[in-house]
């Protein structure tokens, strides 16, 4: 062990330590988004977003811009996240 390494022991984990896992995670996310676009498969997200919006609209008046559809890919699972921001008025009426 060199002196430098000994100092590193006391300094604790450096800022760059473990950045490889961040790289992996970022790649998995971006490729999940890009692959449908670059590999000629249908990009269903915009259509999905529109249809979900239509269904919700049947029950509550919502703003088109307040809906977000995201896909995240982890090592062994994919997650489709749909978040809809409801106006206060609509929520109180539903409850």
């Amino acid at each position: 062990m060199r002196l430098k390494d000994l100092f590193a022991l006391f300094r604790g984990p450096s800022r760059t330590e473990g950045s490889a896992s961040a790289a992996k995670q970022r790649l998995q996310v971006i490729l999940a988004v890009e692959r449908p676009l670059t590999r000629g498969q249908p990009d269903f997200l915009p259509l999905l977003q529109r249809e979900i919006l239509e269904v919700i609209r049947k029950y509550v008046p919502i703003d088109e811009r307040k809906i977000k559809v995201e896909v995240e890919r982890e090592a062994d699972m994919s997650m489709l996240a749909v978040s809809v921001e409801l106006p206060n008025a609509a929520l109180s009426r539903v409850i």
């Binding site: 062990m1 330590e17 490889a20 790289a23 970022r26 790649l27 890009e34 670059t38 590999r39 000629g40």
Partner: protein, 271 residues
């Protein structure tokens, strides 16, 4: 049965030409008859890496467009039997590569050579498309780094959709990952993507892992394909990859850090 193999990556500077030169030379060292073609029209470099830059008279583009015969342009390597280099033009641009012309040259090479190695330019423009279009197999050169992995993924998509095999609905091109500039120390520290990470993301079989090795630069300084330098760990790893390409089962080397035991440390100190 002749095999046409493209060495490609999308991203520039990851080691395509070094790898194409090493694999072609390695295959010839194994007794195969090999031709390696430079597809980077206007930015030729394979001739330098192979150390034949002073021997270029005619090139690939002359054969396609100017009625020069293939054998007038092929450069025979003086070190390894059965190894030929087809350099490209330094003055023309990629429009000089017509699909029909490239097809004619590759078909002619297939008659004579066991392996035709196509060294692709970076990017996804015409030169890169021409290099991969007629290939039977692809070696995707990737560095363990985010932009390189992303570009490799993009290239895999193109191989599966834009190659002649894909257009004709033939069996898909065989694809191999060649992970280069692998720095074991940085992988051990968690600073660099490890082989398993890259494999998980790209999901193609690994042909080889080439360790970071200062000898690669020294070999390129000399115009020596790195497999001709037996002391180079990168050269040894390339030879392993060549043997795998030929169907041998060869265990991966240089993928786990040497054990940090006191005895090892002492040995290294006293060596």
């Amino acid at each position: 049965m002749s095999q046409v193999i493209v060495v490609t990556s999308g991203k520039g500077g990851v080691g395509k030409t070094t790898s194409a030169a090493a694999v072609a030379t390695g295959l010839a060292m194994k007794g195969k008859k090999v031709c390696v073609i430079d597809f980077d029209v206007g930015l030729r470099n394979l001739d330098l890496i192979m150390g034949v830059e002073r021997r270029v008279v005619f090139d690939f583009i002359n054969v396609i467009n100017d009625g020069i015969r293939l054998h007038q342009a092929l450069i025979k390597d003086k070190r390894v039997e059965g190894l030929y280099i087809l350099p490209t033009s330094q003055t023309r641009d990629k429009d000089a590569l017509s699909r029909e012309g490239v097809e004619r040259v590759i078909e002619e090479l297939r008659q004579e050579f066991d392996y035709v190695i196509c060294d692709s330019p970076a990017g996804i423009e015409k030169g890169a498309y021409m290099a991969l279009y007629f290939a039977d197999e692809a070696i995707v050169v990737t560095n363990p780094e985010v932009s390189s992995v992303r570009d490799s993924d993009r290239i895999l998509g193109i191989l599966n959709s834009k190659s002649r095999r894909a257009e004709r609905g033939e069996p898909p091109m065989k694809q191999h990952l060649l992970l280069t500039r692998y720095d074991l120390d940085r992988v051990a520290k968690g600073e660099m993507l490890k082989l398993e990470d890259v494999l998980e993301i790209l999901a193609i079989p690994v042909l080889g892992v080439i360790p970071q090795d200062d000898m690669v630069l020294q070999c390129s300084n000399l115009g020596l394909p790195v497999v001709l330098e037996p002391k180079s760990t990168a050269g040894q790893a390339y030879m392993d990859a060549v043997r795998r390409l030929l169907g041998e089962t060869v265990e991966l080397r240089f993928t786990t850090p040497p054990k940090k035991s006191f005895v090892n440390w002492l040995l290294r100190r006293t060596a």
